[in-house]
């Protein structure tokens, strides 16, 4: 079993979103910038006037490594990419890349991606696959 995150009160809306098949991030109503990870106030301007919004789910591949020494739960995955993607909204998050062979030739940086969700116990985690590719 792959590791599953355990929500806390301030991150619960994020995980409620993934369970509903939506990628939700926070946006500051004062400076209008998005941010991630979930926090009660804006890291850019300090305002606590923040809201949850649904992200488009579109992203690009910012950087990654291909891990050859699998974590518990990943034994059957073969070498797998641990990636950081940049969402269209300008924030970055760590994820795995699915729907494509995880080899350097198939994972050029800045490739376009879209979010998908994988169920892990009680929660769903956001993963990314190449945009526009057949599922």
């Amino acid at each position: 079993m792959k590791p599953a995150p355990k929500p806390t009160p301030e991150t619960q809306p994020f995980w409620d979103g993934t369970a509903a098949g939506e990628l939700r991030i926070q946006r500051c109503q004062s400076c209008e910038r998005h941010y991630f990870y979930p926090r009660p106030s804006c890291p850019h301007c300090g305002s606590d006037q923040v809201e949850w919004v649904r992200a488009s789910g579109r992203a690009t591949l910012y950087s990654y490594v291909i891990n050859h020494r699998p974590a518990p739960g990943f034994e059957d995955a073969g070498p797998y990419a641990i990636a950081v993607v940049e969402l269209e909204e300008g924030v970055r998050m760590m994820t795995n890349i699915v729907g494509v062979e995880n080899v350097p030739e198939k994972l050029p940086l800045d490739m376009e991606l879209q979010v998908v969700f994988e169920r892990r116990g009680d929660v769903s985690v956001p993963l990314f696959e190449p945009a526009g590719e057949p599922r």
Binding site: P5, T8, I66, N67, A71, I82, V84
Partner: protein
Amino acid sequence: MNVVIAGAAETDEVGRLPQHSTLQLHLEAARNALADAGLTKDDVDGIATVGTPGPIQVAHALGMTPAWLDGTGVGGSSFLFHVRHAAAAIRAGLCHTVLITHGESGRSRVGAGRWGMGADSLLGQFELPYGVVGPPTSFTITALRYMKETGLTHEQLAEVAVAQRRWASRNPRAMFRDLITVEDVFASRLVAYPFHLLECCLVTDGGGALIVTSEERARRSPVYLLGSGESAESPIISQMEDFTTSKAFRLSGEAAFAEAKITHDDVDHLMIYDAFAHVPIYGLEDLGFVGRGEAGAFIAEGHTSPGGRLPLNTNGGGLSYTHTGMYGMFAIQESVRQLRGEAAAQVPGVELSVVLGNGGMFASAATLVLANRLP
């Protein structure tokens, strides 16, 4: 008031020490540093240490009753923070002489704390679900972005390990001493593409300790702390602002250089925490020794190797010398040795040395400017 490092020593051995508990490593390093300083525990009224077992237990085991304690634990750079904080405390009159200890059974895990983070922590929620297996699969994740933006090649990354092994080959205490080539690096096991085994640090047991005090109280030729700086960035690497440069490296370096009133030309010797081969590349650029994107070529051309104009990581570094898990202590130790003229791979004429420490995955950083003479 001039604050100095008046004593510095490592454990009798570093490497594989299954007969030593973590506490023993602290105590052995402390005794060695006190002896090196020509002082006794009764001369010490301050203590700083991190992690297991922590400053209270170390002080108690030594039979010390401290008037000042610091348990700053910000990863492998903590000891640089301790030196900086100790200097401030001594100048403020809070204490006179501080013992800083490190001991870690990184390899044998004897009497060591547990690793791991809860599933409800920041790391547990937003990084560990993606199959991260410690630093080799997370600290490394910035490198491909750096390579794309600067043109750093796989060969240049490997050259970092090659250069440091040249220093290690001259150091009998280094764990790995056989000279290596870029081909050897490529032939070593892929740990996390693009990093091969020889581009990743060791995992060892060991410890070290320092005595920080005022110049007046020092018994032997002192190493002066001319300047220091500290900073932090993100607790999880995915939220680092820009994967091609460390903000904490830059800010801590700027602060240390400004306080010491030095320029890059003044620096004879440099230690940059090298948990992985890309970290010295970031350090050289973020401290301003070379321009953006130039560090890979600078190292590959031999400028940081024996005989080069900027000797870097002269003990062999975390890649070849030792890495207990918190390497910062060993970087400071090598600077002190070079400034005293006592290093195994001694560089001639070292008068000023800079140490850059990293904590976590580019999470914290501190820089020390050390010298064996006052400006």
